[in-house]
Amino acid sequence: MKALALRAALAGLLVTTVAFKLLHAGASQADIGSAVVDLIAQEGWSARKLTAEAAAPFSKVIAFRASGCAEDGQVYFVDLGFQLAPMLDRSIGPDYTRYVAYLGRKWAIQDRLGLRLEWLKQKTLSTLGLGRYAVNEIALVIAEPRACQVSDKVDWSAAWRRPDGGQPMTSSVAPAGGSVLFRTYVVGDFTIR
């Protein structure tokens, strides 16, 4: 009888855990693209998301024009390891300054360790139910013309902030056109079958 009850409990555990996994499917990486557009729009600036072709090899690039500025700034979405750092060097012109924003912090340089530690801290808080952010592994690199450095006004951390304990702030924006800047190709996924 005891053995039968144990087997029933184990079967119940199997069903419960799998059902939990299925119910929580889709709650993985938060998409902060729309939130970034909203933050820029809140300043009264124009924002446009580059097409996938124009943004390549980056997963996403948003161009913005601050009021009073003659040139666009850009927000690049990059992985925490900064594997596409060489492409940033090519994409961002010498007349531009840049900095990195990720969750609650900003860096003037590509501080991989600092980014990973920030991820670890916020991920731990989030797992314990104490976090303010929907933690993903995407950092923002903000580039803007040296002659018009105004993006510091924007609280970029709000892109990850949970407004109601759920997903970060979102809206929708139509993609805009753009051009392919380089003929450098990204070498992507390749695995043994």
Partner: protein, 290 residues
Amino acid sequence: MASAHDLISEDFRRSLSGRAALVQRELFLWLALILFANQLFSSSTDVVGVFGEQIVQILLSRSIFYYLGWYVVFSQLAASKAGRTVSRFDIAAVFSVALLNLVPGQGSTWLATTAAALLLYARSQNDTNLRAASVVLFALALNGFWGTKLFDAFAYLLVHVDAALVGLALAFTQPGMEWQGTIVGQPNGHSLIIFGPCSSFHNISLGLLCWVSITKITRPTWIRSDFAVALIICAVVIFLNTSRLYLMALSEDHYAYWHTGPGEQIMASIMTVSVLLISLWGAFRRGARR
């Protein structure tokens, strides 16, 4: 190699029928089943389509070596001599590990797998089959989770190593080619930036999973020369991966063929067969079997 029927002992078949008391072996098999099911369905976030298609996509999203690993885990557990009636500690430990799957996030299933491997190892005593199952569980967790985390931490460095290998090969054989950081190719023409998913690292961990699985199914105990076989697998995977990157760097046509065209399938097949054959050779070579 023993057949599946031989591996499943009589008392295990009796326990499956529900008549016998629950023994350690069956308890650990339940745990393995819970982990396997959770791993499969934790990958369902990227899957779209109707239910039947989703199941097929989930099954096809995994490497053949992943299933080989799980086959070895189940067969080694079934062949285990852990026939003692379960203790309260066993029950509490198995339930605790299984309940880790209820922690949100995809990593929880892999944490549970790692904890299960530790549990099996701790309870294995002189049971080589139970120990073999725990080693393969470790290899699965390394490939599915820890390897990725390790790679993320050192991605920049590891991708540079791949780029250096390709860059050196290009510099020696193709005039006008050079490499700078993670970019290889012609300075003012066709060039590649090598990105994490294409690094040799991921296929190395998958190759090692194949090696561990095949070695453990043929004999539960290690011998010293097994580790030389592992090194050969790493070298072959790096060589083939570098060769593919080299070919892609030659021109745009080469890139299209070897990146997403038939060349990708050809290279993946060559790598799969190579890893499989080396693992089989390592397991069955003269003097290796016991």
